[in-house]
Symmetry: C2
Subunit: 760 residues, 2 copies
């Protein structure tokens, strides 16, 4: 391990000045000469066949430069999710989308699009497109969609009626034998809602096509390289002729654009191809709600067998998730749900079955946690029930059963480190666990404390392919350019990658400049998702830096008249480790190398493993029993982050995740009416926590130094959301004695449950 | 050597469709949100001290956002030429420029600049700047500037009065002994003019500075990486924080922007820093004439000792070049002039002395041929005189004395190949050399045929540092991205680099996409100049492709169940060389590697040698003895290009060079009046050959396959210009019996010489 001079420090975030001065460029800011504006016509019906579409009037409107529909666009099937580019055999990618199809499958599905010289003209043109629909029967609930009488959204599916991807089955030991040996068996079913990512920047893309057919797309994607593959496939040109880049900033993501930014990119490209001008497509907030992926809602059943002493002996999980109208991540999400659910605790006998189901609702896909918040709500709600029933302290039960290095689990990688016990203990201290049950709950307001733990991934593998590459070039003044294909979604990726490069190279942080999120200037990287940038892309950066360092040592050995293994770098100076007074500035080394015709270039190529981050969340809540209103007084999140490259960034991720987790637990839910229309697809009606709703949050870091990463890093991008809902539900139970099996625990649901509980 | 499938073919030039449809983007096309327009105030005097400068009124004008002068800009000395970034020790770079200085040294020197919301306002603001000058004595001729009474432009110079850089001295053998042994000694002095590059796109830059101080400059530079160094030095930030890129096209160069595009970049950056907005600076054509480098004019004396049989035994050259007001390439140009002049022919005893001299004229710098057209006009005019005097056929004299592999010369690399004899013979055939002297020249119109030969470089070393790097990434469909730091000035660099990559990799040309001219997406390359892109950058591309190929073979060996050295690629398929029916498409190999987490990435790093291209030019001219008007009837250029990667591109370079050479020989000359003002600084008065002036041109390629390059390539970018003037002057002599020692041979000069000749 290196002596740390940059890693672990709260250096200035590279994008901070631009962000706070409002000068940072996002896709919506891109302006190109002659650029047109694209708008999309969307289906008002949840399921219909387009019998006729007449675009004549729209085409004739002055200022309209292109009108596209299924009749004049690519007939190549694709998947907006990057899953299609990574699915590991023997699984097969599911390709079930066209840019436009002659059948629409949800309210908001794409019917046609227009490019015009202004947005207003484009909007007017949409109203001139005449579409004749034949209404088809629709289904909105996944359990209903499995039934024989339900409409088949995509014809026959190999895995079963309306089942888009292979069913996931995980198994270890013998669950039935385990249940037979258990002293107690618990079984509960939980229901989880449609949560929306509500990232600040809506889906957007600007496409430009040169006369020789090279396509450039500025986009909000979290994964430029995979998106390039998808677009090249749709438009049937060599992958090398497509450039996808962030401009360079992206206003968040939370999983909503792992792959394409919904259909912003292909619609922009198709319009640009027809108009022969650049085209900008920016989703309205309502379009972003109705026509870009949400979190998977669904039903999760957990059956657990325990010994009297609390030892888990058998666990069986089952999940049915709603895929919505297309299969964007609906194969992988149930996989992560099951794998994370099972691997949280040590348990010899385990089994999981889960899958998604097509329905006529907005497609569901990746969102922060990716199935795991769903799993942990179920798992750690049930752990609370078990602790209560067995009369064991909730913390003790978790520590007793927690996964430890060397324990067997269902995953193909090892648990090599855990700081969970420390997390639980630190969190208990911070929240005041010993106060639990000591509040005066005799009146209208009842207060309670709850805990939940979680785990997650640091990388996408084994759920899909995952690898990273990076370039490092040393300039002739000893400063360094780092090029990595991952976007910085606002999470500080560029900063932490630069820190790792500076640390390995022994140079000042200020001398590292980072290029990211551009397929033209970076080698392949699967992108920013799965809490992987610091872990996976970071490992590639470290590998590149080590290669560069070896070149520097080799070259400097002549200047310092020593061996290349007797050299080190510190504070931008190269020195002989045997005679430290033999020093030469990196500026001089690089300049002399330049004059000798040498640039130090490091290429890092890694196929990362994975490592489990762990976290313990504690909630202190107060329930107004007259209204059902729940106030969160304090949240504590203690996270085993492996190693904090930039502690403030880690804390920021945890705090943000907790806030989004509070929304998941208490207020966020996209609701469909009986015609499949979202009733709350804007920020007035869809309730994300505002600053008024956010309690005191304490984020605490624990470092377990995972051996699978050169700096010991684990993922932290999603973890703050993972156990939050369960911690709050458990605190609500502690306050009221009412167990909630469904989130969000809105005031209405809480009040009804309190009334029902009283009546029982 | 590879079996050629792409190299040697006239594939479609990558930029052709964009160029012919007028959709290609140049720096002048760059538009950025909030962009301002910069204009520059220039000195009306050839030499003056700024006593006072009052910018108050300009600053107050509505719409003006920045006003800069020497008072509020960087005081770091620099050199707009890239020489400052490459000068090889023991030579020292000459840094004699500020963005603005308090002394102006030529008519057009920068005094102040303004950025405003429109060009008109910026122009108006310039007229509001009040400057009080103290006029200083000025000097315009280099011989005058050497005298004691001449003003010293830059104070004391180490090398002598007004001598900006070290004097060049080259020596081999003993020239005095050689002259003593000669049967005849010839000595002539030649005078060469100020030629202007007249590239289509004037000097231009658009600068953008982010709030965190990162500088991006879109520019017309031929050398983005060196320009980045220069700009970072001027503005004192780490090199890694500056990005310089072509947008991506550049409207020619011909040497005028090896380094910065005159001062377009630093003025744009300085204005952007003050205005905190992007700023575009585009030179007018007149500004381009008066304030960006021209070719070096000067005086060249050649003294040659020969034996009766024509064998050269001693040669001494001397050159004094006019540097203009600053030292942009004035150290290197006399070096190339002397080295090329001496190395053209085998001669045991050789000596050269040459240098530049500061004068109060527009700085002179690099232009196509870089001193060599000056040298060859002198050398091969004299060879014609010698042939005539000795009664030896002009072709025979040249073949007898031509440099051959293994011959000694003054250069630090070897002549390893020559196709010159073939060039001479093919050209003689094509022009009809045997007609020479057979024309009926009894009337007013006299016709004649002339020959001249030339050599040149394929690379900048040993005249300055020179190296190239390249990245190649294989996409998952088997297509390839190539990233090289050289711009494509219109010469087809991108196309020929892509051809070499495709050839080595065994893939279709259409699958290679090229990124060039951008410091952010490419590793260091010194840039597009010195006829080096195909030779030097091409070698880096080949090295990268070979590295990638090794990775592919390694990976594919498992799929083909053979050894990695028993594999080859052809037509996008990988196959076993032992069992060719064992084939797998590169698409499949790349996709399987992708799923295994591997991208094939090749990095090429080369420190290129050099190789001498050779050429023989033949001119067929007709002189109107009543007016002095010379018409070129036909030009033949036969060039040893080593190997033609793209024959049409080679021919195009030769044809273009010949046209520019005709201008150099007959019409192009920037003329200064007695106050140091250019009198013909626009296309109405400065006479470049138009389509009406261009004769039939026949470009013929000879391939000598130089062993110093993987494909045998030699440079061809500049060679068409090199011997053209001498060939025409020799043809003029053949027609009229009048020997011209000065170019351009305008009608006026020709007429006077005919009259003078008659009177003698």
């Amino acid at each position: 391990m290196y002596k740390m001079s940059v890693v672990g420090k709260n250096v200035r975030k590279l994008d901070s000045v631009e962000k706070v001065t409002g000068t940072a460029n996002f896709t919506t800011d891109v302006e190109l000469p002659g650029m047109l504006f694209g708008r999309t016509l969307r289906s008002p019906y949840p399921h219909a066949r387009i019998v006729n579409i007449d675009t004549t009037a729209a085409e004739k409107l002055e200022g309209v430069k292109a009108v596209i529909s299924y009749k004049n666009t690519s007939r190549v099937l694709f998947n907006t999710a990057a899953t299609s580019t990574f699915t590991l055999p023997p699984m097969m990618p599911v390709l079930d989308q066209y840019i436009f199809d002659s059948v629409v499958r949800y309210v908001g599905d794409e019917v046609a699009a227009v490019a015009a010289v202004t947005e207003e003209i484009a909007e007017r043109a949409l109203s001139l497109i005449k579409v004749e629909y034949e209404i088809l029967p629709a289904v909105f609930d996944p359990l209903e969609a499995l039934k024989d009488e339900a409409p088949a959204l995509h014809g026959e599916c190999e895995a079963g009626k309306n089942i888009p991807a292979e069913k996931i089955h995980l198994e270890m030991g013998d669950v039935e034998k385990g249940f037979a040996e258990a002293d107690f068996v618990f079984e509960h079913t939980f229901k989880v809602p449609v949560q929306k990512q509500t990232q600040m920047e809506t889906q957007a893309a600007v496409a430009q096509v040169t006369k020789d057919g090279k396509i450039t797309v500025y986009s909000t994607t979290q994964t430029p390289h995979p998106s390039r593959r998808i677009l090249a496939s749709i438009f049937e040109i060599p992958y090398s002729k497509v450039r996808v880049l962030n401009p360079p900033y992206v206003g968040g993501g939370f999983g909503v654009r792992i792959g394409l930014s919904a259909k912003a990119e292909p619609i922009a490209v198709a319009l640009a191809l027809q108009a022969k001008k650049p085209v900008k497509v920016v989703y309205t907030r309502t379009e972003d709600f109705i026509a870009s992926d949400t979190r998977h809602p669904g039903y999760i059943t957990v059956k657990t067998g325990v010994k009297k002493d609390g030892t888990l002996v058998s666990r069986k999980m089952h999940a049915i998730l709603n895929s919505g109208a297309y299969c964007t991540w609906s194969g992988e999400t149930p996989g992560v749900l099951g794998a994370m659910g099972l691997s949280m605790y040590r348990c010899e006998n385990q089994m999981y079955d889960g899958h998604s189901v097509y329905t006529n609702t907005t497609p569901t896909g990746a969102m922060r946690g990716f199935g795991n918040p769903q799993a942990m709500f179920a798992i750690d709600s049930q752990m609370d029930i078990i602790a209560e029933e067995l009369g064991i302290d909730a913390l003790e039960l978790r520590i007793k059963n927690m996964m430890r290095p060397g324990d067997k689990w269902v995953l193909p990688y090892q648990c090599q480190s855990t700081g969970l016990e420390e997390c639980i203990k630190n969190g208990a201290e911070e929240i005041g666990w010993n106060q639990k049950g000591s509040f005066d709950n005799s009146g209208r307001f009842k207060r309670g404390i709850g805990v939940a733990v979680g785990t997650h991934v640091s990388n996408a593998w084994p759920f899909c392919g995952d690898y990273s590459n990076a370039y490092l070039t040393m300039q002739q003044d000893g400063s360094v350019n780092l090029a990595a294909g991952v976007p910085d979604l606002g999470t500080g990726t560029a900063t932490t990658l630069a820190q790792m490069a500076a640390e390995v190279l022994g140079i000042s942080f200020e001398k590292v400049s980072v290029t990211f999120g551009d397929t033209e200037s970076t080698p392949f990287d699967i992108g920013s998702h799965a809490s992987r940038t610091c872990y996976a892309s970071g490992a590639a950066v470290v590998a590149a830096a080590n290669e560069m360092k070896a070149q520097i040592f080799e070259y400097a050995s002549k200047l310092l008249e020593t061996y290349s293994d007797k050299i080190d770098i510190e504070e931008d100076h190269v020195y002989s480790t045997e005679r430290p007074e033999q020093r030469i500035s990196l500026f001089q080394v690089a300049e002399r190398a330049h004059l000798a015709g040498i640039q130090f270039i490091g290429v890092g190529k890694v196929i990362p493993q994975n490592a489990p981050p762990y976290m313990a969340h504690f909630a202190d809540v107060e329930v107004d029993t007259h209204t059902g209103q729940i106030s969160v007084i304090k949240m504590v999140g203690v996270h085993d982050v492996g190693r904090a490259i930039h502690p403030q960034i880690c804390e920021g991720q945890i705090e943000g995740g907790i806030v989004q987790g509070i929304g998941y637990a208490l207020s966020e839910e996209v609701i469909y009416d009986k015609n499949g229309k979202q009733v709350n697809n804007n920020f007035h009606k869809y309730m994300i926590p505002t600053s008024m709703d956010v309690p005191e949050i304490k984020a605490i870091l624990v470092e377990s130094n995972d051996p699978s990463h050169p700096f010991g890093v684990k993922g932290v991008g999603e973890t703050g959301l993972v156990p939050t809902a369960a911690a709050i539900a458990n605190a609500v139970y502690n306050a009221t004695g009412v167990r909630m099996h469904e989130i969000p625990i809105t005031a209405e649901r809480m009040f009804k449950a309190i009334v029902k509980n009283k009546n029982n």
